[in-house]
Subunit: 353 residues, 2 copies
């Protein structure tokens, strides 16, 4: 029998955890999640763990896993009351990260830490994740929702995602720095906005310094700030996986926090240097606006934002034209943006020219 509150007895609800609301949300989540399940999913929703049939290749395959968050882009979603897009952001970010290692996604799990179950919020988050999972051919296999009343305010939450994909076990069949050679060519793929990086700077600039709202129109773009800031970080799986599986991509860099200099450097061997020609693309308006309005140094811009380049491929010089052509045929904005050559002593792995 529950404690009588008038007698001063403590119950879990007094302590801020609403178990009934948690149950209702769990039921809804179960239904949405089930729609992402194919025959490889061996578990029912609601077990202690999600169960997924192991890839048939056995030890000839490698499992590729990554954990990620959305960062402070979440605060923009929370300001706007729009929660499905950050769910998509998270899945796509994870998909792009393991694609860089040559992996096709198998399954995804989420963690939501939140203050209070506001009706609709958790449902929108999970719908966004489930939609993105389906589009990426990936099962939403499980997740945890933690109600932590005095960690998060009433309408606040943090969100983390975890993905597992499959790639060949042999290193020579996966992209990576070990396959990059002097003379290789860099191919850029356009980003579709800020993706999920630089949002602390963006929020500081637009909301704290300039006092803008989500409805203020961003010059150079001509769209409301909220729409620009919540544009979904795209998945590159569709156009890139066929090239990766055909062995046409020697290395891939997903341009996230740290920008081109730090992320491209992760796949450049010690003795080589990636030389990126900035004149090969026009910096999109949203980045120009931030640089000007925030008086941000160009170097800082390149280390904080993707500057219009979402993914960089390293390909052999013979493959460049064909790869670019295939990507364009798939509707991508792709272009040669530099080369890989010998690194001189004291120089950095990536040089912006």
């Amino acid at each position: 029998m529950p404690a009588d509150p008038e007698q001063g007895g403590l119950s879990y609800r007094d302590a801020g955890v609403d178990r009934e609301a948690t149950f209702a949300a769990k039921r809804f989540i179960g239904e949405v999640v089930r729609r992402t399940h194919g025959p490889e999913v061996l578990s029912r929703v609601g077990g202690f763990g999600g169960i997924f049939r192991a890839p048939a290749e056995g030890a000839g395959a490698a499992l590729v896993a990554s954990a990620d968050g959305v960062g402070t882009k979440l605060r923009v979603a929370q300001m706007a009351g729009i929660h499905d897009t950050v769910g998509q952001d998270l899945v796509n970010h994870c998909v792009d990260d393991i694609l860089v290692e040559g992996a096709r996604p198998l399954f995804f799990l989420d963690y939501i830490g939140m203050g209070q179950l506001t009706p609709g919020v958790i449902e929108a988050l999970v719908l966004g994740m489930a939609d993105a999972c389906r589009l990426n051919g990936c099962a939403l296999l499980g997740g945890e929702t933690a109600q932590m009343p005095d960690f998060y305010g009433a309408d606040e939450y943090d969100l983390a995602g975890f993905i597992v994909g499959v790639a060949p076990a042999e290193p020579e069949r996966r992209p990576g720095s070990h396959r990059v050679r002097s003379g290789d060519v860099l191919v850029g793929l356009a980003s579709n906005g800020f993706h999920t990086n630089g949002y602390s700077l963006l929020r500081h600039l637009f909301f704290d310094r300039l006092g803008w709202t989500l409805d203020t129109e961003l010059p150079d773009v001509g769209k409301p700030l909220g729409e620009v800031l919540l544009t979904v970080h795209r998945s590159y799986l569709g156009p890139l996986l066929p090239l990766v599986e055909a062995g046409r991509v020697r290395a891939l860099a997903h341009i996230t926090g740290g920008g081109i200099p730090e992320n491209l450097a992760r796949v450049i061997p010690d003795e080589l240097q990636a030389r990126v020609q900035r004149s090969t693309w026009a910096i999109p308006g949203e980045f120009e606006a931030v640089m000007r309005l925030g008086d941000v140094a160009e170097d800082e811009m390149y280390r904080t934002f993707n500057m219009g380049v979402g993914m960089i491929l390293v390909v052999s010089p013979e493959d460049e034209l064909d790869v670019v052509e295939r990507l364009r045929a798939a509707g991508e904005d792709a272009w040669g943006l530099g080369i890989v050559q010998a690194r001189h002593p004291g120089e950095t792995a990536v040089k912006l020219l």
Copy 2:
């Protein structure tokens, strides 16, 4: 060139993200993490994704995955300034969750969302996780640390864990409700404290209502409250995996949030009922103290806490004595705590007697 702060230019550091400190922490983490890596780990620390050789059984194996958090036990760690134990809590909780599905852990990834990098905190968290990973024979394959200055206070963080393990693909070789029969016996394994559940109630009671500190001695236990509250949620992998792999365990329930009634119900088929005899064990002092000091109803206690039972096994009646004996020989406190029998219409899946 970085923007000159005196000129009012914005840099990422102004916006509250300290990139240098992040780098230093990343280096340390890399070293600790590497110590958990065996030959199955195919990636270096610092790639876009962690790479792990797929189980040799191929499609004959199932991957079992789970996501979890530590809940508001984290706040106790943050009050105490002790951070390695919650790292261990998280790994062990994840290991226990997939063990319930019959899985041996392969790899673990973490997500840390934090306000500011306080020296030592992230290192302690990762050390705790790495220690627990090693003890559970599991690789700490990757993770994400997100610095989110205005989501979390200076010394605050949230922590999520993701685990992947391997089990046989055939359902009849994994524990679960599908193998539970009328006449089966329930075997309890002692918990070693509150594990990771009920901490909102515990904190509300001890700190808000009673005004205690971490140093106040908890009656019925004779230890400081901080020590009792930070006792590490134990892993049951060692004693249970051999029994699970030998097919001796028909089902397992990890007693977490929702207590015995809700967690045991997850493995009881619709037509059966688990009848738990509360007289078979003595409720440990810490639970007695909470019930008395908080005037918490007994039913609420059983739905919030594990009440001294960390894991419940369902075994065949012929196996009971041998299983209990083996567990005791392995140093476990194990006992028969009830039976499974037909469920009468209108009755619940679990009945506490």
